[in-house]
Every structure is written in structure tokens, then in C-alpha cells.
């Protein structure tokens, strides 16, 4: 059960051609798992998240399929997806705060949303109030207008609303990026709480911030230039990453306590390749200090240790016979 994404390819159609933002992506999320999807801007992580919920008019699915709880998700059919959105899959976007209609009280907006999906607000109200209290807000908040709430409060309200129908999959897209550290922590802990209380079955946390994932995620999937780079348990990715990109990325992050005079960190030179005409072979090749001849071929994304998959020729030879993720 859970979510299974199999060889998914999604592109953006532009005037200059198709940009493959998600290129042959295969992974799965178990029930009760919080998976972190990490990567730099433009690596395709948000496109992946959005494609599971709502395809933009410019987006096209080129191949692969997605299953949720054993059912095929018709992701390229926006109308058929209507039956899944909100009930089975919910997405909380980065600026969820501005998704709230400023002229409606929060409660009324929820009522309209439920009505549109054929649910009754009155019968859902006790549960809604219970959950609002659970995240540390007053039930009174339902009678307020969005502008009366702070960014962190709004973010939490949106999360409560989007998980009200206990969806199977919650996609949280950069929900902590715009928040202060103290609020970040509250929202991060909320994700854990929702999982523990079975409000959501599987959670996908999309972020560029690995340290947030170190706090909340069970597994971390790292994407680079539209491709999967590495997937493993969170502490393994943070402490023993195998892909050179993950290694260099983590070593470039200034954790609290590191000082420039004592220990100067270095970034990764260069920038990710353009996705319009990506280079053949490993896409990290140009920036990789370990690149060798074989990197001109594309490395397969294979499991090299139990539960640890990586797309790198340095480790491909140790691939476990089963393969897959």
C-alpha cells in the first residue's frame, strides 16, 4: 500500500521544447512514512509534487504511472483527479497562507470546500474543532478572517483543513521555508503529530532545507536535475551519504557551531545543467570531483545496501541483486 511512483516522466512544454523536469522517477512511500524530497530549486521536486495532485496546463505526463493504496492515479486527467484531490491526496503549497480567501471567515471557507466535495460542515465541525485545538489554536479561529492570523497560524490552519478528510497522501511543498525558526519547529512537529494520529497515511515533505528533514523525515529522497540521486533512511542520508552530490551538499551546510575562521566550508562549483537539453550520462558529472570515464553513461538508480539506493557508478557495482527501490 502507500504511494508507488513508477518510472514517472513529467515535462513542461515551452516554446523551445519540452523540459523534462521529472525524468524517470521511481520510488515508493510506505504507510505511516514521512518521506522528505530534497533538492535545489529547479531539480524537479516541486514539479513531482504538483504532478501527483494537479497538472499545470503546461505540464504533460510522458510516461510511467502512479499508484495510491493499490489504485492507479489518473494524474494526467485533471477531471478524474477531482475525485482524489482533498479526499485522498492533499497538497499544502508554500504560500498556503495566501491561499485563504481574505473575504471569508475561515469556518465558512471550510464549509464551502466541504460542500463542493459533497460533505456536510455541521457533522465535520466537532472533528475540525478538535483538530484545530490539537495544533495549539483556539476553536475561535474558525470565526476569524485570514488576515487576523499570523503566517504560522495560517500555515497550521491550512494543514488542518487539508487533512480533515484523512487523506492517504499529504504533500507539503516548502511549507516551512517562509516561516521563522520557532514557527518552523511548530509546523514540523505538527507533521509528526498528524502521522502519529493517523490523520494522514503517507506524507511527502518537499523542501530544499535538509536540516528540517533531519528533524521530521523517516526517509529522504534527493533529486538532482530531474533525476533521483539517492534515497535512504534520514539519518543515513545525513550521516553516511553515498552520492557525491549529497555528500558535498551536506558538507556545505553551516550547522550551528561551525565558524568561518575555524572551518571554512566550500560549496559545489558550477550549477545544475539545463533540463531542456540535459547532457547524456550522469547529470552531476561536470560538478563532481570523483567523475571518471564511466560517468558518460547514465548511472542506474539501484539499491546498494538494504534500504539505500543511489545513482552513481562509484557504488553501482555493489548493487543488490533485487534492484529497485
Amino acid at each position: 500500500m502507500g504511494l508507488t511512483v513508477d518510472h514517472l516522466q513529467v515535462c513542461y512544454r515551452t516554446l523551445r521544447g519540452d523540459v523534462k523536469a521529472v525524468d524517470d522517477v521511481t520510488f515508493s512511500i510506505e504507510d505511516r512514512e514521512i518521506m522528505g524530497l530534497a533538492g535545489e530549486s529547479g531539480c524537479g521536486k516541486s514539479t513531482l509534487g504538483n504532478s501527483l495532485v494537479r497538472m499545470d496546463v503546461r505540464m504533460r505526463q510522458l510516461g510511467g504511472h502512479v499508484e495510491l493504496d493499490g489504485k492507479e492515479l489518473p494524474i494526467s486527467d485533471s477531471r478524474a483527479m477531482r475525485d482524489f484531490r482533498f479526499k485522498e491526496i492533499s497538497i499544502v503549497p508554500q504560500y498556503a497562507m495566501s491561499a485563504l480567501n481574505p473575504t471569508r471567515r475561515v469556518g465558512r471557507m471550510v464549509a464551502e470546500l466541504l460542500k463542493a466535495r459533497g460533505f456536510d460542515y455541521k457533522s465535520a465541525l466537532p472533528e475540525l474543532e478538535r483538530r484545530v485545538k490539537l495544533v495549539g489554536l483556539d476553536a475561535d479561529i474558525l470565526k476569524r478572517y485570514p488576515i487576523e492570523l499570523s503566517g504560522g497560524m495560517k500555515q497550521r490552519v491550512v494543514m488542518v483543513i487539508s487533512t480533515l478528510l484523512n487523506p492517504s497522501l499529504l504533500i507539503a511543498d516548502e511549507i516551512t521555508s517562509a516561516l521563522d525558526v520557532s514557527t518552523q519547529r511548530a509546523v514540523g512537529e505538527m507533521l509528526l503529530e498528524f502521522r502519529d494520529r493517523n490523520f494522514v497515511k503517507t506524507t511527502m515533505v518537499i523542501t530544499h532545507d535538509l536540516s528540517i528533514l533531519a528533524q521530521v523525515a523517516d526517509t529522504i529522497l534527493v533529486m538532482y536535475a530531474g533525476k533521483l540521486a539517492e534515497k535512504a533512511k534520514a539519518d543515513v542520508v545525513i550521516n553516511n551519504p553515498l552520492h557525491p552530490y549529497t555528500q558535498l551538499l551536506i558538507s556545505s551546510l553551516p550547522d550551528v557551531g561551525i565558524r568561518h575562521d575555524e572551518h571554512t566550508l566550500v560549496g559545489i562549483p558550477g550549477r545544475p545543467p539545463p533540463l531542456l537539453n540535459p547532457p547524456v550520462g550522469c547529470r552531476f558529472r561536470d560538478r563532481c570531483p570523483f567523475a571518471f570515464d564511466r560517468c558518460t553513461d547514465e548511472p542506474p538508480f539501484v539499491e546498494v545496501k538494504p534500504g539505500h539506493s543511489v545513482a552513481c557508478w562509484l557504488h553501482a557495482d555493489g548493487a543488490l541483486p533485487s534492484g529497485g527501490v
Binding site: D138, S211, H260, L265
Partner: protein, 349 residues
Amino acid sequence: MLVLDNVTKAFKTGTFGGGTLPAVRGASFEIRPGEVTSLIGESGSGKSTLGKMILRLTPVTSGTITFEGTDIATLKGKPLREYYRHVQGVFQDPFSSYNPVYRADRVFATIRHSYYPGVSADAWHERVDKTLESVGLNPVDVRDKFTHQLSGGQLQRILIARALLLDIKLLIADEIISMIDASTRVDVLNLLANLKTRGLGVLFVTHDLSLGNYISERTIILRRGAVVEMGATPKVFDNPQHEYTRMLLTSVPQLHKKWEAESGAEMEAMGATSPGQDRGRPGRYSKSSLHPLAGMRDRKGRRAQAALHEQDLAEGLLRTDTYLRTHEEVLPLVEIEEDHFVATSTGAR
């Protein structure tokens, strides 16, 4: 070099400017040459407003900012232009810092036009190339490019190069790496830290404590527009004295250490944008501020808030926050050890 003395900033709100929203309250500190000073605060703490006041982009309500002995509020016309020769800024959003109509290297042309009209084109070209190289850019990569062809990191480096073309003594860096890709972020940070070897003073404005700790010699912690703790960075970080500083430090998500037991909601309640803690006592606020659109109906109010912070406060001005800003006493800073000051009501601990 640059001294702030009891600087306050109150934005006017309400149709006829009846209400005020204190954004900065009695900030006094000094920025020294050859040092990186980080100004750390959450959204709405007034950190960006302070940066803007130093850059004379927004006027000071009371108090003085003096640069090398001159009150900068008095500068106008030519002297102001000379001030900008020595004090420059780089802002948060690299894409918003460039006019999308023009190519990125136009920022150099405007500097030449205003400050070095006498320099010949060839000499100027050479100078720009040299400066670009000094910030780690290959001039060929960035010349004649539009902003969307360059990365965030490249754009911020170009802006640093732009500042270095002048006889700059102080650089205000307002959240300059928050919109750059993680893999190249630290390089821009290192570049900033290396500026001090040229004798420059840098004011590094950030919400991220780990970044402040990484590059700065001195740290200033702001909360609701007031300085609550400041001093030498190792002292503030290794021995935080103010509860707010401690709270910030425990909430920072770290790579190798999980959050400690206290819940995030409690942490947040202590934070700058504290929700709910004063609810149930609505009588404390004036009736008008309870209106759902209080302070938001007019543009002035919106501008005030937008200036306070682009994201959070622009969307919902918290009554509790306004109340605390207006009524909370600004506590004096007490030196508890050498170069370590804490706001406290009882004097030394």
C-alpha cells in the same frame, strides 16, 4: 565607523496616520570596520528596516545614525551621493534587484555614470573585469546576459562586485543568501566573510542563526524591534543569556541533533509572532484594532506592514504583536561580561 544611537522607527497606520506601529525601538549599536556584524531576528523584528534606515532608503523616526561623525539624516544631494560611495547594500531577492528590462551588467554602467563619468570605457571595462574576478566570477560568463540567464548566486556576486567598484567602507547585506541554491550558498557567504580582510565593515542581516554564527565577529539579536542581546559572536552563541536567544537556538533545525523535548507550539508562543497568548483579554485592545481589517484598509497601513516584513506581517498584523510593540518596555542593555550585553530589568544577573 557607523554608530546608531537610540534609533526608532514608527510606521504610521490608519487613514490619517493616526496609529503608529513601532518597527524599531531604541536600537543602539556600532558597526566596526574589518568586522562582520550580524543582525539576527525573526520576521517583523525590524532587522530589514534597520538596514534600510542605514542606507537612507527610509527615514529614521527618532535617534541618530552617524557615519564617521556625520549624522546621515542631514545628507542631501551631493553629500548623500558621496555617502553611497562608502556605504552600499545588497538585498535579499537577486531577481528583484535587477531591472528585468535591462541586462544584468547595467548595474555597472549606472555606477560609472554616477560616480566615474571621467573614466574611459576601456579602463572601466578592465576595472569591472578585475572586480568580477575578485568575487569569483568569470567576466565572460556574466557580460551581456539577462538576469534570467544567470543563477541567484551569480547575481548576488555581481551586486557585491558593483559595491566594490566604489570606495566602499560598509556593506549592508540583507538576507543575501536566502534565495540562492544551497550548493552555492556557502561560497557567497565566504566571499562576504573575506571582505573584512579588505578592511570593510559588513552588516549581515539574517534570520538564520547558524549563518550568523558562521561568519560574524559580533552578533545582535533583535526582537520586536528592540535589541535583546548583543556582543562577540562566540559569547552570545556559547553562553546565551536572554531567554529569547536561547529559544531561537533550541528551535533551529540542526542536521545532527534533533529538537529537544519542549514543544514547538510553546516555543512559538515565546517568539516574535506569538499567537493566542493574549486572547481572552480582548478588552486590552482598542475597538478599532479588533476590526478584521484594522490597519489594512488604507495603503499607508499596508505599506507600513509590508516594510516591516514582506511575508508575515503584510498578511496579518497581529494585535498581540502591535500591543506588545507599543506597550512593552525596552529594557536597557547591561554588560554582563566583556563585549556581551543583555537586555534586563534587574541589572547584572
